[in-house]
C-alpha cells in the first residue's frame, strides 16, 4: 500500500503510468477512472431499484391486475428499492463517484493520497453490490423487512426472505461499510493533506466542502449501522437476544429472551439520520457551484454556506429519534428531538436563502445543469417544509404511517438529490468525456422529469392527509377512503411510469454524446474552479501535466468589475487580474 507521491514527478515517473487496458480501465488506481466505475455501478443498481418502484406502483395503481406481484414480492420490492436507492445508489454515487472525481481535481491534487486503497474501495463496494443482488435469487428471495430492517419481524418467520435474504442484506451492508471506510479515509486525508499551494480550506469550492463534511458524517455514523447489522446477524444465526424480545412465533417459542427492538431503532437511526445528510450535503455543495457558475455570480455568503454545512453536519447527530415518535418513547424525549429537528431548519434555510440570493440579479444562463439546480431548489424547499410538519410530535403521530411521509422523504431525499445528480452529470460531462451532449434533449429530460415527479409526489400529500396508510399491499375495504383515492393512485402510477420511461432520453443523449457528440471546449461553462483549468482535456493520469497548479483566489470570481472576462479562474495570479472584491466589501 506504499504510495510514492507523484506531486513532483520527473520524467521517469511516466513509466509508471498505466499502459494496458486492464490497468487503465479495470484495475485502475486513477481517481477519475474509479469515480466512473463507482458512478456506473451505482447507476446500474439504481436502475434496478427504479424498476422495483415501477412494480410497486403497478400494484398500487391497479391492484390485483398483475399476477407476478404478490404481497411477499411487494414487500421485497419496497425493501430493496429503499436500501438500494439510499445506500448503494446515492451514497455511493455522491461520495464514491463525485467525491472521487472532484476532490483531487478541485483541490489541485494529482490523485487521492492512497490510490491503491481507493481502488480497493471500489472493488469491495462492487462485492457488496453483488452480494446484495445475489439475494434476489436465493431460496425465499431477498428480505422483505422494509429498508429499516426492524426486528423482530426482520428475522422472524412470516417475513419474506428470513432464510437467506436478510443474511445477505446484513452481510452486504457490512461489506459496503468497509468499502466506504476505505474510500472515506482517502477523501478526508486528501482534502486535508493534498491541496495545492494556495488552496486554503476557505478557498475550496463548496462541492468539496459538502463532500468533505458528508464523508466525516459517514465515517462516524456508518459504525452504528455496522454494530446493529452484526448484532442482528448474531440474533439470527447464534440465537442471541440483543434485539429479539421473548416472543412466540406461530405457536412456537423460538428461544429468545427479553431483547429490545427499540435498541435496534436507536442504533439504526443514529446512522439513519446522518445518512440523510450524507446524501444531502454533497448535493448542497454541488448545487451551490452550479448556481454560481451558471448565474455568473459569486455564491452569496460563502463563509455562511461553509458554516451552515458544518452546523447541519453536527446537528444531524442529535435528531435521530424524530424517526421514532411512534415507537412509544418518553414524551420529554420527543420534545427534545422536535426542538433539535426544528433548529436544524435554521442553517438549512440559510442555505436556501443564499441560493436564491445568488440567483438574484444574476446573469442566468438556463443551460441544462442550471435547470436541474433550480429544480432542486423547488423540490428541496417543498420537501423541507413538509419536514417541519413531521418534525413536530403531535403532527407526526397521525401522519407517520401515511403517504404524507412517503411524499416528504421522496421530495427531500429522493427527487432533490437525484436532480442534483443529473445536474452534476450534465455539468461535468464535458470534463469527464471531452464531449458535449444534445442540449435540447437534456432540456426535455429536465422538464419531463421535474414536472413528472411533481405529478407523482404532490398528490401523495393529499393521500396522506386522507389517511391512506403506507406500506400496504392493498387497501381492501377501507370505508374511510373515498373511491377517488384509488383514482389518484392510478394517476400517480401513470406519472411514475412516465418519469421512469423518460430517463431513456438521458441514456440516449449520453450514449450518443460518447459515440458521436461534438468535442467540447476545455472550459465550456467558463467556470473558475481548478478542474476546468487542466492542461489536458479530459485530464490525463496525474491531472496536471508537469506542474501542479497554484491557487490564488476563491472559486467564485464571476463578473468581477474591471476584468475583460466574466470569470477569473482560481489559478490566475492577482497581478494579472483584479484581486477579487474590495477588502472592506460586505458579502
Amino acid at each position: 500500500m506504499s504510495y510514492v507521491a507523484i506531486a513532483d514527478r520527473d520524467h521517469e515517473q511516466e513509466h509508471h503510468d498505466p499502459q494496458t487496458f486492464i490497468t487503465k480501465y479495470i484495475w485502475s488506481q486513477d481517481h477519475k477512472v474509479i469515480a466512473v466505475q463507482y458512478g456506473l455501478t451505482a447507476i446500474f443498481v439504481g436502475l434496478i431499484a427504479l424498476g422495483l418502484s415501477a412494480m410497486m406502483r403497478l400494484q398500487l395503481g391497479f391492484p390485483d391486475q398483475f399476477s407476478f406481484i404478490n404481497p411477499e414480492n411487494y414487500y421485497q420490492f419496497i425493501t430493496m428499492h429503499g436500501m438500494i436507492m439510499v445506500i448503494y445508489l446515492l451514497t455511493a454515487l455522491f461520495l464514491g463517484g463525485f467525491g472521487n472525481y472532484l476532490i483531487p481535481l478541485q483541490c489541485g491534487a494529482r490523485d487521492m493520497v492512497f490510490p491503491y486503497l481507493n481502488m480497493l474501495s471500489y472493488w469491495v463496494y462492487l462485492l457488496s453490490v453483488i452480494i446484495l443482488l445475489i439475494s434476489f435469487f436465493v431460496p425465499g428471495g431477498s428480505t422483505g423487512a422494509g429498508w429499516t430492517l426492524y426486528p423482530p419481524q426482520a428475522i422472524m418467520q412470516g417475513t419474506p426472505g428470513t432464510d437467506w435474504g436478510i443474511l445477505l442484506m446484513l452481510a452486504s451492508l457490512a461489506v459496503f461499510i468497509v468499502a466506504f471506510t476505505m474510500g472515506g479515509l482517502n477523501y478526508v486525508t486528501t482534502v486535508l493533506q493534498a491541496r495545492c499551494k494556495g488552496m486554503t480550506l476557505m478557498r475550496m469550492p463548496l462541492s468539496v466542502w459538502g463532500i468533505f463534511i458528508a464523508t466525516i458524517l459517514g465515517l462516524l455514523a456508518f459504525p452504528a449501522l455496522l454494530v446493529s447489522a452484526i448484532m442482528m446477524l448474531f440474533d439470527k444465526t447464534l440465537m442471541t437476544s440483543f434485539f429479539m424480545p421473548a416472543i412466540s412465533s406461530m405457536g412456537a417459542d423460538p428461544g429468545y429472551t427479553g431483547g429490545s427492538p427499540i435498541l435496534f431503532q436507536h442504533l439504526f437511526w443514529f446512522f439513519g439520520h446522518p445518512e440523510v445528510y450524507i446524501v444531502a450535503l454533497p448535493a448542497f455543495g454541488i448545487v451551490s457551484d452550479l448556481l454560481s457558475t451558471h448565474a455568473r455570480k459569486n455564491i452569496f455568503g460563502y463563509r455562511m454556506m461553509v458554516w451552515a454545512i458544518i452546523a447541519i453536519g453536527g446537528l444531524s447527530f442529535i435528531v435521530w429519534a424524530h424517526h421514532m415518535y411512534v415507537s412509544g418513547m418518553n414524551p420529554y424525549f420527543g420534545f427534545f428531538f422536535a426542538t433539535t429537528t426544528l433548529i436544524i431548519a435554521v442553517p438549512t434555510a440559510i442555505k436556501v436563502y443564499n441560493w436564491v440570493l445568488t440567483l438574484w440579479e444574476g446573469n442566468i444562463h438556463l443551460r441544462v445543469p442550471m435547470l436541474f439546480a433550480i429544480g432542486f431548489i423547488f423540490t428541496f424547499i417543498h420537501g423541507g417544509l413538509t419536514g417541519l410538519f413531521l418534525g413536530n410530535v403531535t403532527i407526526d403521530l397521525p401522519l407517520s404511517d401515511t403517504y404524507f411521509v412517503v411524499a416528504h422523504f421522496h421530495m427531500v431525499m429522493g427527487v432533490s438529490p437525484v436532480l442534483v445528480v443529473f445536474g452534476a452529470i450534465y455539468h461535468w460531462w464535458p470534463k469527464i468525456t471531452g464531449r458535449m451532449y444534445n442540449e435540447t434533449l437534456g432540456k426535455w429530460h429536465f422538464w419531463m422529469t421535474f414536472l413528472g415527479t411533481y405529478a407523482i409526489y404532490l398528490p401523495m400529500h393529499y393521500l396522506g392527509f386522507a389517511g391512506v396508510p403506507r406500506r400496504y399491499f392493498a387497501m381492501g375495504n377501507t370505508e374511510f377512503l373515498p373511491d377517488s383515492a384509488q383514482d389518484l393512485n392510478a394517476a400517480i402510477t401513470m406519472s411514475a411510469l412516465f418519469v421512469a420511461a423518460t430517463q431513456i432520453l438521458f441514456f440516449i443523449n449520453m450514449i450518443w454524446s460518447l459515440l458521436k457528440g461534438p468535442k467540447s471546449d476545455p472550459n465550456p461553462w467558463n467556470a473558475t474552479s481548478l478542474e476546468w483549468q487542466t492542461p489536458d482535456h479530459p485530464p490525463k493520469h496525474g491531472n496536471w501535466g508537469h506542474e501542479l497548479p497554484e491557487c490564488h483566489r476563491w472559486a467564485y470570481d464571476y463578473s468581477v468589475p474591471g476584468y475583460e472576462d466574466d470569470f477569473i479562474p482560481q489559478n490566475v495570479p492577482p497581478d494579472k487580474a483584479p484581486a477579487g472584491r474590495d477588502h472592506g466589501e460586505d458579502h
Binding site: 506531486a7 493520497v113 471506510t181 448484532m231 442504533l267 460563502y302
Partner: protein, 223 residues
C-alpha cells in the same frame, strides 16, 4: 446512547476547533499570494499524511466501540440481564497487552533514535506478546464454553463475546501491518525513514487498542 454521543462530541469538537482556527477571520473573496501551502500547512508536511489517515481511522474505531458500549448500557437496564463472572485469565491477558504496548514504545523509541539493533528484537517481542494476548482471549472463550457459559445464555455473555471478539479483530488488523513491517526489517529491504514511520504509527495504534481494552475490561468487570 449517551456514551456514543459523548465520544462523538469529543471527535466533532476537535474537528470544529481546528476548522475554526482555519477559517476564522479569513476573507475568501480576496485574491493574494498565499504563503501557506497545503504541504506546509498547520497539519505539517506530506509525511504526516499517514498519521492523519490513522487518526481518522481511530475516530471511526472510537465511534464503533462507543456505539457498542451505548448498546451495552441500554441493554443492561432490561430485566433479563445477569452479570457474568469474567475468567481470571483476562488479567494475565491484560498484562500481556500492556507489555506489548510498552515493548512497541521501546521499539519505536529505538527507531526514532536510530538504534537499528533494537528493531528486530523489539518487533518480535511485541508480536509475541500481542499474539499471546489474542491466544489468551481465545483460551478465555474456551474456558467460558467449558464452564457452560454460552453466548445465548444471557445478554451479558453475548456482549462479552461480541466486545472481546470485535477488539481481537482490530488487534489482528494491527498484526497484519506489524507483520508487513517486521518482514521488511527481517529481509533488510526496509528503507530507514519508511520503517521508522510505520513503527511510529503502529505504536500509536497499539496504545489506542490498549486504551480501548482497558475501558472494555473495566466495564466488563464493573457490571
Amino acid at each position: 446512547m449517551e456514551i456514543g454521543l459523548i465520544a462523538l462530541a469529543i471527535i466533532l469538537a476537535t474537528l470544529l476547533g481546528w476548522l475554526l482556527k482555519q477559517s476564522f477571520n479569513t476573507q475568501p473573496w480576496v485574491a493574494e499570494e498565499m504563503g501557506e501551502t497545503a504541504h506546509h500547512g498547520p497539519l505539517g508536511g506530506s509525511s504526516n499524511t499517514r498519521l492523519i489517515a490513522l487518526l481518522t481511522l481511530l475516530a471511526v474505531v472510537t465511534s464503533f466501540f462507543a456505539l457498542i458500549l451505548s448498546a451495552y448500557a441500554l441493554r443492561m437496564e432490561l430485566g433479563d440481564w445477569v452479570p457474568m463472572t469474567e475468567p481470571q485469565l483476562l488479567w494475565t491477558n491484560t498484562g500481556m497487552l500492556i507489555l506489548a504496548s510498552l515493548a512497541f514504545q521501546w521499539t519505536r523509541n529505538g527507531a526514532v533514535q536510530g538504534i537499528a539493533s533494537r528493531l528486530k528484537p523489539g518487533l518480535i517481542l511485541t508480536g509475541a506478546l500481542t499474539a499471546g494476548f489474542v491466544v489468551g482471549q481465545f483460551v478465555a472463550w474456551q474456558q467460558l464454553q467449558a464452564s457452560g457459559q454460552l453466548i445465548t445464555d444471557n445478554p451479558s455473555n453475548a456482549f462479552f463475546y461480541f466486545l472481546t471478539g470485535a477488539h481481537a479483530v482490530h488487534i489482528l488488523g494491527g498484526m497484519y501491518v506489524w507483520a508487513r513491517a517486521t518482514t521488511r526489517v527481517m529481509l533488510g529491504t526496509a528503507e530507514g525513514r519508511a520503517i521508522r514511520r510505520s513503527i511510529e504509527l503502529c505504536a500509536i495504534y497499539w496504545h489506542f487498542l490498549l486504551l480501548v481494552w482497558l475501558i472494555l475490561f473495566g466495564l466488563l468487570l464493573s457490571t
